[in-house]
């Protein structure tokens, strides 16, 4: 649970006036406006007074009193305005100072520049630009203001510097996603495979769109006639949860309350399903490499700062230069790229030079530890995990393969 966020939000809300919901400065504006109107009114009075004096109405006493009243009111208005605008300003200024303190005390903890220890070479820029090109093509191609094939390629090239060999792999993705966003499912239906889940979801989306337009008969016709043949065979569950309610609403002639929202969700579902299928079919990674690396970076950040504070307080330093000094626990989807085997004796990750070996008892050690335990193959040794004896000759080099 976040502690800072609610209090930050609260502090920010204090920069708004409680009554009118506007920023605090608005009070100054309001008062000035009021002051102006008052002045205008009093000016009219003064004007009238002058005119009457000019006309020669000789009730001098009354006139004098009226003028005094106007003058008094004028000065009173001025004093009040002067006082309250300063007061209001002071209040606003105090609130801002409070926020300054809040930000300094609650949010200021690390200097980001200090974290960046292993700096990337300046030559890395071209590769980073390429990775960004790939990322932008993958995620942004459906949000461009152009739709034609060549236009998309040109746009990505001109605005983002994406080379054609990258951009052309995403053109169709962009076109179809744009169509779907505009509520047009035709290009996607043409693209998708028969009997795929995507086909069924598009069918649902289409029916919902028809219903949205209020054409009950057409919707009914579409629902019954266009249902993919495979739907009853493979997707009975979806038929029950998605098609049946739609039919019921159709018969009752009444759409569910949050129908618009559901339609939107269905559209998003189709876009994400299509993107997945498209990437799989074209051997494109669904998540861009850049995204996965950034996510890993964010996750490891906390371990890094923890390590730093420990190091600072305990004055210990890390010795292995080519490894990070801390173990980052990543989620499963970020660790399935390569198998990682840590030799239980050496506590080191096996490498090409120090590969894993299987003992006769099917426990696994690294080559280096095997050589150490067998004294370079000269003697038998007991497995560190079970009572079985092993000799170097009886071991076998193994290779972990992630499928």
């Amino acid at each position: 649970m976040s502690v800072i966020l609610p209090s930050l939000s609260q502090e920010i809300e204090r920069l708004y006036d409680e009554e009118n919901g506007q920023p605090l400065v608005s009070k100054c504006v309001e008062e000035t406006h009021e002051f102006k109107t008052q002045l205008k009114k009093l000016k009219a009075h003064l004007n009238k007074h002058i005119q009457e004096v000019e006309k020669g109405d000789d009730e001098k006493k009354g006139n004098k009193r009226r003028k005094d009243l106007v003058v008094e009111k004028l000065n009173k208005a001025h004093r009040q305005w002067d006082h309250s605008i300063k007061k209001n300003y002071k209040h606003a200024s105090q609130q801002h100072s409070k926020i300054s303190k809040f930000l300094q005390n609650k949010l200021h903890e690390f200097d980001l520049d200090e974290v960046y220890v292993n700096k990337l070479h300046p030559e890395s820029r071209t590769n980073i630009d390429k990775a960004i090109s790939f990322h932008i093509s993958r995620y942004n191609v459906g949000s461009l203001p152009v739709n034609g094939r060549q236009e998309i390629i040109d746009y990505l090239g001109q605005v983002y510097g994406v080379t054609q060999d990258i951009s052309e792999r995403f053109v169709q993705l962009g076109q179809i996603v744009q169509d779907l966003k505009n509520g047009d499912t035709r290009s996607c239906i043409e693209w998708c495979h028969d009997d795929s889940l995507l086909q069924f979801e598009l069918y649902t989306l289409n029916a919902m769109q028809l219903f949205q337009n209020g054409d009950v008969l057409n919707t009914y016709k579409y629902l019954t006639e266009n249902i993919p043949n495979s739907a009853f065979k493979y997707r009975q569950h979806q038929v029950i949860t998605q098609v049946s309610p739609l039919l019921t609403q159709l018969l009752l002639g009444k759409r569910a309350d949050d129908f618009d929202n559901k339609l939107q969700l269905q559209q998003e579902k189709c876009i994400s399903l299509f993107t997945k299928d498209y990437c799989a079919q074209n051997n494109l990674p669904f998540d861009s490499a850049l995204f996965l690396i950034i996510l890993s970076g964010v996750i490891s950040f906390q371990f890094f700062t923890k390590y730093k504070s420990i190091r600072a307080s305990a004055h210990v330093d890390w010795t292995t230069e080519d490894e990070l000094p801390f173990d980052v626990k990543l989620p499963e989807f970020l660790t399935r790229f390569h198998p990682i085997f840590i030799c239980p004796v050496l506590k080191e990750e096996t490498t090409l030079e120090n590969p894993p070996y299987s003992l006769p008892c099917h426990h696994i050690l690294s080559k280096k530890s095997l050589e150490r335990l067998s004294k370079n193959g000269t003697s038998t040794f007991k497995c560190p995990y079970c009572p079985v004896n092993a000799s170097k000759a009886k071991t076998k080099k193994v290779n972990f393969v992630m499928l």
């Binding site: 649970m1 976040s2 966020l5 920010i12 920069l15 920023p23 400065v25 504006v29 102006k36 003064l46 007074h49 002058i50 004098k64 003028k67 300063k86 300003y89 606003a92 200024s93 926020i99 949010l107 200021h108 903890e109 980001l112 520049d113 974290v115 292993n118 700096k119 590769n127 980073i128 990775a131 960004i132 942004n140 990674p285 490499a289 850049l290 690396i293 950034i294 996510l295 890993s296 964010v298 996750i299 490891s300 906390q302 490894e323 990070l324 989620p331 660790t335 390569h338 198998p339 990682i340 085997f341 506590k347 990750e349 090409l352 426990h363 696994i364 193994v398 290779n399 393969v401 499928l403």
Partner: protein
């Protein structure tokens, strides 16, 4: 930690992105300061106006009353224009506060995704976060488009123009994230920095220094000195000695106490340059060995060697005329070492060197970013460096060897689908970068379920190997019998009875 991906807490994220609140807040304060100035000025002015008006009214003369009436009219006008100015500040306030609110709700989205345990929402959030970092990177690093080009196309005011083509801004707009970054701040920094490095123009920076004198003074910054020194050097380079001396007197002398040595050098430079001028032959100067032929500036290894004052002059000043045509930067970087050998020229040539532009730009960016509490280095690069190391295993960056089979279609299926390396660190973009970064540190193996060993020593997840066999059979890619599997690496067929259950730790 209460997280789905083992990601940091929302509070941690807030601390990481302190600048998202710090910058608009800084701008808000600036705005409030402007309001204060406005109020101070106008309340005082109105006080005087009222005093005048009261004095007029106190006369109790009709004519004076009439003058007072006009005065009151003026006062109303004044209040009206004050109201308009205040309204402008209010709008600015509103926009900045909206930015902050959008950001608060951005982090609220993160908090919500975490409390709901919503995977896809959280993934989406991190995608947005990544896009923000990319936008930031693009805005900071994009080249400034040539003036002719932009004017021809839009013709409007330069600021608006820039926002319409800067790739970072465009990207964030298309992703609807533009409220989450203070791109005006970053764009301004980039504009000033690029005008230094690409156009060798000091004026935008001088203007900025003028606006932020107090901040720089508080930080004891040497920026202003360096900039004025550069201005002086540029005058000298262009032979504008009078301007140079004027610049020295007006702007550099004030640094006499703090930068005495530099000032000595600067004045020395004036004499040095004068003495380099061709009309005065080198022989008049006793230090220069007449044997040295003022000829080839470049030694055999291609490094620039300036052996005499004439060399120096030719290198820096003849080039100048030709440089102003179209190549602003000096292409040949000469080596410091070579120069130090050449008597005392190095201290002068260093001052004349075009590298100083980059150094000043760096110095400026450092001050600028620290003013807003923004990290000086690109955050994207920081996350990339950390992220690559976190993912980098000992197996990364090694090409796996495959043996191919007689079945062409099978090979394609296996290499494209089954054994395709999807590791981001091994991708063609990141592999060259990852090469020089440290590996992740692991204390535990991260393998797979049900490991079984085949007779060839390859260890697989048993279920996945069987699934693969079933797929190969279904897709008619390889004729397998019941209870047979195919090793995708060496394409050998094994029976399930050959499986050896393994116990890796």
């Amino acid at each position: 930690m209460g997280s789905l991906f083992n990601e940091p807490s929302t509070d941690f994220h807030l601390k990481l992105n302190e600048q998202l609140f710090q910058i608009p807040h800084e701008l808000l304060r600036e705005n409030v300061r402007l309001v204060q100035k406005l109020i101070d000025k106008e309340t005082q002015g109105l006080n005087e106006d009222f005093q005048e008006m009261n004095a007029l009214l106190a006369e109790n003369e009709l004519d004076q009353d009439k003058v007072a009436l006009t005065k009151l009219g003026e006062i109303i006008k004044r209040v009206d224009s004050f109201e308009k100015k205040l309204n402008k500040r209010l709008n600015e306030d509103l926009q900045l506060l909206n930015r902050i609110r959008t950001r608060v709700s951005f982090f609220q989205d993160l908090e919500d995704a975490k409390t709901l345990g919503d995977h896809s929402k959280l993934t989406q959030w991190y995608q947005d976060y990544t896009n923000l970092l990319i936008g930031d990177y693009l805005i900071r690093n994009s080249k400034i488009r040539g003036k002719e080009l932009s004017e021809g196309k839009y013709g409007g005011d330069e600021d608006d123009d820039e926002r319409n083509w800067n790739p970072g801004v465009m990207f964030l707009r298309q992703q609807h994230l533009e409220q989450l970054i203070d791109y005006d701040i970053l764009l301004a920094a980039n504009r000033i920095s690029k005008s230094l490095t690409e156009e060798h123009d000091l004026s935008p920076l001088i203007e900025w220094i003028g606006e932020n004198k107090n901040f720089l003074k508080r930080n004891c910054s040497i920026l202003e000195f360096e900039v004025r020194l550069q201005e002086y050097v540029e005058f000298l380079k262009n032979g504008q000695y009078k301007n140079a001396i004027e610049c020295f007197q007006c702007f550099l002398l004030q640094f006499m106490e703090t930068n005495f040595a530099d000032l000595k050098l600067a004045s020395g430079l004036l004499v040095f340059i004068k003495s380099c001028e061709p009309p005065s032959p080198p022989s008049t100067d006793g230090i220069i060995d007449p044997q040295i032929i003022a000829g080839d500036e470049f030694a055999k290894d291609g490094n620039l060697v300036l052996k005499s004052k004439a060399d120096v002059h030719r290198h820096f000043f003849h080039r100048k005329a030709f440089k102003s045509a179209d190549t602003p930067t000096m292409s040949n970087a000469f080596k410091f070492n070579n120069l130090t050998k050449n008597m005392d020229f190095a201290r002068y040539t260093d001052l004349l060197d075009a590298k100083r532009w980059t150094a000043i730009s760096e110095l400026f960016l450092k001050e600028y970013y620290s003013m807003y509490g923004i990290s000086h280095l690109d955050p994207l690069l920081m996350y990339l460096s950390l992220g690559i190391s976190t993912l980098k295993t000992k197996e990364c960056l090694h090409e796996r060897e495959f043996s191919s089979s007689d079945f062409h279609k099978l090979d394609g299926f296996i290499h494209q689908g089954v054994l395709r390396n999807t590791c981001p660190v091994c991708s063609s973009e990141f592999a060259p970068i990852a090469k020089d970064l440290p590996y992740a540190h692991h204390t535990q193996s991260k393998l797979f379920e049900n490991p079984i060993m085949l007779p060839n020593g390859n260890i697989y997840d048993m279920k996945k190997l069987k699934t693969l066999a079933a797929t190969l059979l279904r897709e008619n890619l390889y004729p397998l019998k019941d209870n047979e599997v195919l090793d995708p690496i060496d394409k050998q067929v094994f029976s399930e009875t050959d499986f050896v259950t393994m116990y890796p730790t």
